[in-house]
């Protein structure tokens, strides 16, 4: 086991944990309910860690990425429906992330948003074209660690720690029925933002890209459990910052950059810039991951050559797939649609894809023919099945809650 690889894997997973969905849902939910919605982040972080660890294990031992499993286990018809649904969600998220990158570039430069959409597209295109998988992960993961600025801000804001601790216990901090619908909508949105299927598509394909073997299982465990735990702490810090600044004044943040008020208030200009760097690379990394996830899914479904370990011409249909994802995303953004609105929709609709994505992972991770002695143990199985039930409940209730709560504005 290479310690540097282990450390970089841990940092990459922690730094790459946050994306635009956390930067939208966490401030919105904390502004409305204070610290009362910290518990969904713990539930979501454990869930994504359990399933990502299984994906990594399947990639290392059976050499199969998630969409291979989906097609083999569910057959052509259901896998095709899953492919269409998951890639619509991937495209929505990629669109929101690219819009987020342009917003961050605008905060840095003050230039026009529309012009910066082309800059964001150009930068992502160059990075994806020239840089190999391993370095992509490292660059965005390490720079994404600047999100620690929000953890420092959360501590410096001196929140009411007693209330913070109470936020980890599900409670009912409302009286009106509309508040209950909003509360449930945000709880599901927060869960959804941490359990986005693109993360497992990307993570398992990454395991194959890096040629994981049995000896890498320990890296897989540390990357998923420790790395995601740190990532979840950063997500919780976002909620604490928003809960401390916005909740007492009943201020509802509408823009992606509003959360930067936390580092700015506590650390001045330096904090603001560090927070902006963290956000830029977190959102940029997620834009890269979602575009690649769409291409991975298509390639794995149809059996095309895929991967970022080789030159673009060696996997041409894979290359064209992520390129088309980027182009379509920018075209959608040029219509003037708000990335925050796309994020809200994408997170809720991604929840619907959960069962079709996560069930095949669980089935194969349990299959001794594929994994031999590395098949799921009892603890993992109990956790995975409990989460599958949670995912099913969440999947069924997501869209009705979106409608009934009017997107959390009930």
């Amino acid at each position: 086991m290479n310690f540097v690889d282990l450390l970089l894997g841990f940092i990459s997973s922690a730094g790459g944990f946050i994306d635009i969905s956390n930067l939208v849902f966490n401030p919105q939910s904390a502004a409305k309910f204070g610290y009362a919605l910290l518990w969904p982040m713990v539930v979501g972080a454990i869930g994504i860690a359990v399933y990502a660890e299984m994906c990594g294990r399947v990639a290392a031992i059976a050499k199969k990425p998630v969409f291979d499993l989906i097609r083999e286990r569910t057959g052509f018809n259901i896998a095709m429906i899953t492919l269409i649904a998951s890639n619509i969600v991937n495209l929505l998220i990629a669109t929101a992330e690219i819009g987020g990158v342009a917003i961050m570039l605008q905060l840095f430069s003050g230039l026009s948003y529309r012009g910066l959409l082309f800059v964001a597209f150009g930068l992502l295109l160059l990075i994806l074209w020239f840089i190999k998988f391993k370095y992509l992960e490292w660059i965005f993961g390490i720079m994404g660690m600047f999100m620690v600025t929000f953890l420092v801000a959360a501590i410096k804001l001196s929140p009411n720690w007693h209330q913070v601790v109470l936020g980890f216990v599900p409670s009912i901090p409302f009286e009106a029925k509309t508040d209950m619908l909003d509360y449930l909508y945000f709880a599901i949105g927060l869960l959804g933002s941490l359990l986005m299927p693109y993360q497992v598509y990307f993570y398992s394909s990454g395991g194959i890209e890096e040629g994981w073997k049995e000896k890498d299982l320990i890296t897989n465990k540390i990357t998923t459990y420790a790395g995601y735990a740190l990532g979840a702490i950063l997500a919780i810090a976002l909620s604490i910052v928003a809960g401390t600044i916005f909740f007492p004044g009943h201020i509802q943040p509408q823009a992606v950059g509003t959360i930067l008020l936390g580092p700015a208030l506590t650390m001045g200009k330096v904090g603001l810039i560090l927070g902006m760097i963290g956000m830029l690379f977190s959102i940029g990394g997620a834009a890269m991951e979602t575009s690649l996830a769409g291409a991975y899914n298509l390639s794995q479904f149809f059996g095309w050559q895929w991967g970022k370990f080789q030159r673009p011409s060696e996997a041409p249909r894979f290359t064209l797939s992520w390129l088309i994802m980027l182009i379509v995303a920018v075209l959608v953004l040029l219509t003037g649609i708000d990335p925050v609105k796309i994020t809200n929709l994408a997170v809720i609709f991604s929840v619907v894809v959960y069962p079709l994505t996560y069930i095949p992972i669980l089935l194969v991770a349990n299959d001794k023919r594929f994994l031999g002695k590395h098949a799921n143990g009892r603890v993992t199985n109990v956790l995975a099945w409990v989460y599958l039930v949670i995912l099913l409940v969440v999947a069924i209730s997501a869209v009705p809650l979106l409608i009934l709560s009017k997107g959390g504005n009930g």
Binding site: R71, F76, S299, G303, W304, R311, P316, L320
Partner: protein
Amino acid sequence: MKVLEINLEPRLMDCQIIDVDGKRCGKVDDLVFEGDVGSQLKIKSILVGPRVWYSRETGSLAALLSFFIRSNKLIEVPWKYVVEIFPIVKLNVRAQELGLRALDTKLAGILERIPGG
């Protein structure tokens, strides 16, 4: 009429196929069997390509597929080229020799002209 159920262990259908160079070159979209009544049934070949997808689909999904994917291509990979079936189907021949990855070869020629491609 008697319905014959065949349980292929390990599963073959929808498995990834890789060629002798380790290149991914399609999925097992369908299988062709040979053998007379009363004799042992053997796999004759693997079918790869869009034409099989339509036959596996039904209703609106089939219509959607045929609208977006106009290709009617079908490639038959003789079973004699298969050297391994689990967990991935491995061939002992280059994909291009069987007509697989033809589009990849064309597209690669274009992408190679771009710097870094």
